[in-house]
């Protein structure tokens, strides 16, 4: 296994390359069991939906499980809201890390590129470590990296759709040009989508709905754990080229000449 292949982000080494979201879980116990089964060491929480002040809540669960929290700005439509939400998170959770999410509208939940760039600059200037959730646009991803994002997180498909990776070529292009970690974020439907993301060269995969709204979240979480590990190994193992014509796996040489 990839035992000696940590995912390093902002100087922190993580064994697991699966980052989990928490939205949509039917129960706290169920969420806890799914997070455990996923093997995740980093989990993102919507600061607008969960209050760190409330006892016995999600934050307690993460603390008890020893899982690092990546606060996110889900639900923000403007750079201003996102910056304020990030500041709230930094104060409450004592972390500079923030998953920056600035969405354009409630129907597509697609990132608003202009506000995203603006918020990234403001947050970097304030000392945040910005994990930028972005469109699968290689130009925008590159720009976010130049502005100081510690990770770029292109979507595979719109949030919650489970449509998989709609533009694998763009993801590959983003990966090939990035000097910071690339995390495939959003749109994952099932395990093979996550394996593909890793095969395309992504450093990690972030997903929530595919697990939390699955009929058996624990089993699905375990499936993703294996898929991410498998995809990582495959990406490093050097796949064979695609060929038009068959090539027998055993050589033809040495056959009896009848």
């Amino acid at each position: 296994m990839a035992g000696n292949d940590p995912f390093v982000i902002d100087g922190v080494a993580l064994e697991s390359r699966l980052i989990m979201g928490t939205g949509g879980a039917p129960s706290l116990d169920g969420l806890g069991a799914a997070l455990l089964a996923s093997g995740t060491e980093l989990t993102t929480v919507a600061m607008r939906r969960y209050s760190p002040e409330v006892g016995g809540s999600l934050f307690q669960l993460l603390l008890d499980s020893g899982i690092r929290v990546l606060p996110n700005t889900a639900g923000c439509f403007t750079a201003r809201e996102a910056v304020m939400t990030a500041e709230l998170a930094r104060e409450a959770l004592e972390t500079d890390w923030v998953k920056l999410e600035v969405i354009a509208d409630e129907h597509t939940l697609l990132p608003d590129a202009v506000e995203l760039v603006d918020a990234t600059e403001r947050l970097v200037n304030k000392g945040f470590k910005v994990f930028a959730y972005t469109n699968d646009d290689p130009v925008l991803a590159r720009r976010l990296e130049q502005l100081g994002a510690v990770a770029v997180m292109p979507l595979g498909a719109p949030i919650g759709t489970g449509l998989g990776i709609l533009n694998p070529h763009n993801i590959e292009l983003i990966v090939s040009r990035a000097e910071v970690p690339v995390v495939l974020d959003a749109g994952i439907g099932t395990a093979s989508d996550a394996a593909l993301a890793m095969e395309l060269g992504c450093d990690a995969v972030l997903l929530a709905t595919a697990v939390t709204r699955a009929q058996d979240p624990v089993m699905m979480a375990e499936a993703f754990k294996h898929a991410v590990a498998a995809g990582r190994l495959a990406s490093k193992a050097g796949r064979i080229p695609r060929r038009e014509h068959a090539l027998a796996s055993s050589s033809m040489e040495g056959r009896p000449d009848l």
């Binding site: 129960s27 706290l28 607008r48 969960y50 209050s51 409330v54 006892g55 919650g160």
Partner: protein, 396 residues
């Protein structure tokens, strides 16, 4: 260290006058016991907000089959419970129509139906035209409909008022409008000794043969809970709306309409008085105020299912906290002592009903009565409140 001022002793003291506490108090009164209900503001918590859907079928969730046995039991008890309470109970055998807004919503409902059918529950697919023949104000753009005949409703405010009236009219019942501060034990130094009464917030002790803890989220903060009654409750806030249907649209609906709109649940419950209840959000943002975004989401999604919602008069926006537990199941039953060798005498816990307080009230009342009668129904031991607090070796 129990203070000396004693109020009149009773057979059972029930802490908490939400629908669950009221139901328990009334059940125990009917069993021939004298009862004191303790609550500074009865029926003004989650009961005040609740829509009162009695919906074990449409509320079924994957992997919550354990809860289904209890919700079905309680739904079966509701008609008799309401009948004993009289016509003011607000019970209606309104059927339920589950609707999907888009194709993915229809598939989600159809997938859930497989589980519902596996449990022998009645969920009948309808065509959109059939559904709209029954409910002509349902919008034509929906993607699918399922009829659920056995999911009914009660108006929790009316039911609570009716029970309070019964308690008020009985010589054997009293309502103390104060907060409980804690439980009083036979041995003040031993949390696992018998509970003998309730300490009120003014320092008064109310002696009782049995104490039922049914004050929702506040239960966890009571002093003197048994050592293994650490109650893992958290507030899950909900926004809910009440609207009046104008005469020209009456009736807006004859069935309770609930559905998924782009993956988000929403329901519309028509009341006998010409109002409609639209709910409910689930928020863990720590805010007890009504959320503007929550109200917007409810109205937006309700209008997808029933466009004429836009014509209604918005009477009331309410937010309350539901007492959530880690496994979404109630904390119901007696509590074992630290070593697990016996139950702590004199106390029964009944809280953590989360989304199902109204539905589970008759079952909770019956189970409490049985426990106090000394009858333990083993079907319900999985809801014991001590399941989250492991037994510890007794100290030497």
């Amino acid at each position: 260290m129990a203070p000396q001022t004693d109020a009149a002793a009773c057979d059972v003291a029930v802490i908490g006058g939400g629908i669950v506490g009221l139901g328990i108090a009334w059940e125990l009164l009917r069993s021939g016991r004298s009862v004191t209900l303790i609550d500074p503001a009865p029926a003004e918590g989650a009961t005040f907000a609740a829509a009162g859907m009695l919906a074990p079928v449409s509320e079924l969730h994957y992997q919550e089959e354990d809860l289904l046995e209890l919700t079905l039991e309680s739904a079966g008890l509701w008609p008799g419970f309401a009948a004993a309470l009289g016509p003011d109970a607000g019970y209606l055998p309104t059927p339920t129509l589950a609707l999907g807004a888009d194709a993915a919503d229809r598939r989600a409902l159809a997938d859930l139906r497989e589980v519902q059918l596996a449990h022998g529950l009645g969920v009948e697919p309808l065509t959109v035209r059939e559904a709209r023949a029954q409910e002509p104000l349902v919008g034509p753009g929906i993607s699918g409909a399922f009829a659920i005949a056995e999911d009914h409703q009660v108006d929790p405010r009316r039911a609570a008022r009716a029970i309070l009236a019964v308690l008020g009219a009985s010589d054997e019942a009293s309502v103390v409008r104060r907060s409980a501060a804690g439980l009083v034990h036979s041995d003040a130094g031993d949390l696992d000794s018998a509970v003998t009464g309730v300490l009120l917030d003014d320092g008064t002790v109310l002696a009782a043969g049995e104490v039922v803890v049914a004050n929702g989220l506040a239960a966890a903060a009571l002093e003197g809970l048994p050592s293994r009654a650490r109650l893992p409750l958290r507030p899950v806030y909900g926004d809910i709306l009440r609207l009046r249907v104008p005469a020209h649209l009456d009736p807006l609906l004859t069935a309770t309409v609930r559905g998924l709109v782009r993956g988000l649940p929403v329901y519309l419950v028509p009341r006998a008085d010409g109002t409609v209840v639209i709910g409910a959000t689930q928020r863990e943002d720590g805010s007890s105020a009504v959320s503007a975004g929550g109200v917007y989401q409810l109205l937006r999604d309700a209008q997808v299912l029933v466009p004429a919602v836009a014509e209604l008069e918005l009477l009331e926006c309410t937010a309350r906290a539901r007492p959530g537990t880690p496994d979404n199941a109630p904390l119901l039953g007696r509590v074992a002592t630290a070593g697990g060798e016996a139950d702590v005498p004199g106390v029964v816990i009944a809280t953590g009903f989360f989304r199902h307080g109204v539905l589970l009230t008759p079952a909770a009342a019956l189970i409490c009565r049985q426990l106090i009668d000394g009858i333990a129904d083993t079907r319900w031991t999985r809801f014991r409140p001590d399941r989250f607090s492991p037994a510890t070796a007794k100290e030497a």
